[in-house]
């Protein structure tokens, strides 16, 4: 396998019952340092695809390789691999019973054996970067949506992951808060983080993505540079989708 490929899927299928095919033979590669944005109509399987990458979604068949290891193999300790795959959710999923700081230090201290003080310093440094150092001792319920999502991003980053997975990170936000979250993500991309982003933010895709994947009905229909996809979509479904989201 190519050294640059960090995640690779092979013929990933996900069926619910017999009739619902959420994923149909999805094969894709994510290279190190690449920002891949996955777009598509709702129900196209893009979230399912993203969630299969760290096995939050158990694929019915097919394989997922992470750093060359087949993590769909039941013998693999998935928890160790997940430590290197940060994930950000649409609903933030911060831990409401802990302060922001505790949210950030929990995993590094418990999973990586980091000292509490060291983890706190790291967390504060990261919070500083997203402009939230003053909220370290707040509880999630005291934060706005945009602040919650920035904390959630930092929580994943505190584990120093190799790749970050974003599952519609701005879809649950009020419009005026979308910008602050996207700008954090843009900075992350600039720093060279490998990112897979499922989003409806076409502006972000155009500006930041190295590659755009368009999915429909559980399959990858088309992929290419933002230029290729947005200016010159080949498939009819891509054209139809872009027309409907860009002309609103």
């Amino acid at each position: 396998m190519n050294d640059n490929v960090i995640i690779k899927t092979e013929n990933l299928c996900k069926y619910y019952g017999k009739d619902i095919h959420a994923l149909e033979n999805v094969s894709a590669e994510i290279k190190k340092g690449e920002v891949v944005v996955v777009i598509g109509p709702s129900g196209s399987g893009k979230s399912t695809f993203l969630r299969s990458l760290n096995l939050l979604e158990d694929a019915t068949s097919g394989k997922v390789f992470f750093e060359g290891v087949d993590i769909t193999d039941p013998k693999v300790n998935i928890n160790l691999h997940r430590q290197k795959m940060g994930m950000v959710f649409q609903q933030f999923n911060l831990f409401p019973h802990m302060t922001v700081l505790k949210n950030l230090t929990l995993a590094p201290t418990k999973l990586k054996g980091m000292k509490a003080k060291e983890a706190e310093e790291l967390a504060l440094k990261m919070l500083e970067k997203v402009g939230l150092a003053d909220r370290a001792n707040a509880y999630p319920s005291q934060l706005s949506g945009g602040q919650k999502q920035r904390v959630a991003i930092v929580r994943a980053l505190c584990m120093s992951p190799e790749v970050m997975l974003f599952d519609e990170p701005t879809s649950a936000l009020d419009p005026e808060m979308v910008g602050e979250v996207l700008s954090v993500m843009k900075n992350l991309a600039k720093e060279g983080m490998t990112m897979v982003v499922v989003t409806h933010e076409m502006g972000f895709a155009k500006e930041v993505a190295d590659r755009v994947i368009f999915m429909a009905e559980g399959s990858i229909v088309e992929q290419g540079t933002p230029e290729e996809i947005f200016s010159n979509p080949k498939d009819e479904r891509t054209q139809g989708f872009l027309k409907s989201v860009l002309n609103v």
């Binding site: 959710f89 999923n93 409401p96 019973h97 509880y139």
Partner: protein, 242 residues
């Protein structure tokens, strides 16, 4: 009026002072608290294990990939269901007598037997309380924990239980209060608890009013005290949320 108080006074002396009968109440109170406390701890431990098995089975039992784990989970879940059905389907007095006369027939440590009987009984109810708490926690919390790299058990420990515990605390406290009062049937197996202590005084003095109302009042004070304690705890825990 003064006559009434005089009778009251002489009744009081007869019931509690003569032959140091207050000791029956005092020692009985000790036994009651001892049984309640340890049975409660036992119930919480049993309840936790049963609730985890049941909720894990409900959520993941059908889609687990490891065949050995799946079989193990199904079997333990099956036994948990039997436990819940039997314990919740029979009266606690009968369970207590079965423990005393059959299971621990050779032991005369009746307080220990009562702790075990009430603990096993309470565990069944606590299990269902916990389970409802675990089920009420948003699945996203589990996913967030797992995505960070925590295994299932540790996700439960750090993320789900603390939140679930908080949401079931009032119900759990209620179960503790029910348990406290339920232990009053311990007299059936020759334990001198609070109720039995009062009853012994009644038998010895032929006074009904004084010993029984005193016992009732002590239970009432205990319940009020524990209710207050829990509401303080609840308020402290709530500080972090909403």
């Amino acid at each position: 009026m003064s006559e009434f108080f005089q009778t009251l006074q002489s009744d009081f002396i007869k019931c509690f002072i003569t032959k140091s009968r207050w000791k029956l109440i005092w020692d009985g109170l000790g036994a009651t608290l001892q049984i309640t406390l340890f049975a409660c701890l036992m119930g919480i431990a049993i309840g936790l294990v049963v609730a985890v098995i049941r909720s894990t089975y409900d959520k993941y039992g059908k889609e687990m990939r490891n065949p050995l784990g799946k079989a193990l989970l199904s079997v333990t879940n099956f036994f948990c269901n039997i436990y819940l059905t039997v314990i919740r389907g029979t009266p606690v007095v009968v369970q207590l007598m079965i423990m005393y006369y059959i299971v621990f027939a050779s032991s005369r440590n009746s307080v220990m037997i009562a702790v075990v009987a009430f603990g096993i009984n309470s565990g069944a109810y606590v299990a269902e309380i916990y389970r409802s708490g675990i089920m009420s926690i948003d699945q996203g919390q589990v996913e967030a924990g797992r995505s960070l790299g925590f295994g299932y058990i540790r996700t439960m420990m750090y993320i789900v239980f603390p939140q679930a515990f908080k949401s079931v605390l009032p119900t759990l406290a209620n179960e503790f209060i029910v348990l406290l009062k339920e232990t009053s049937v311990a007299g059936y197996v020759a334990i001198q608890d609070l109720t039995k202590g009062g009853d012994i005084i009644r038998g010895a003095t032929y006074e009904t009013f004084m010993p029984l109302l005193t016992v009732a009042a002590i239970y009432l004070v205990l319940v009020i005290f524990f209710t207050r304690l829990v509401s303080i705890l609840e308020r402290r825990l709530r500080n972090s949320e909403r």
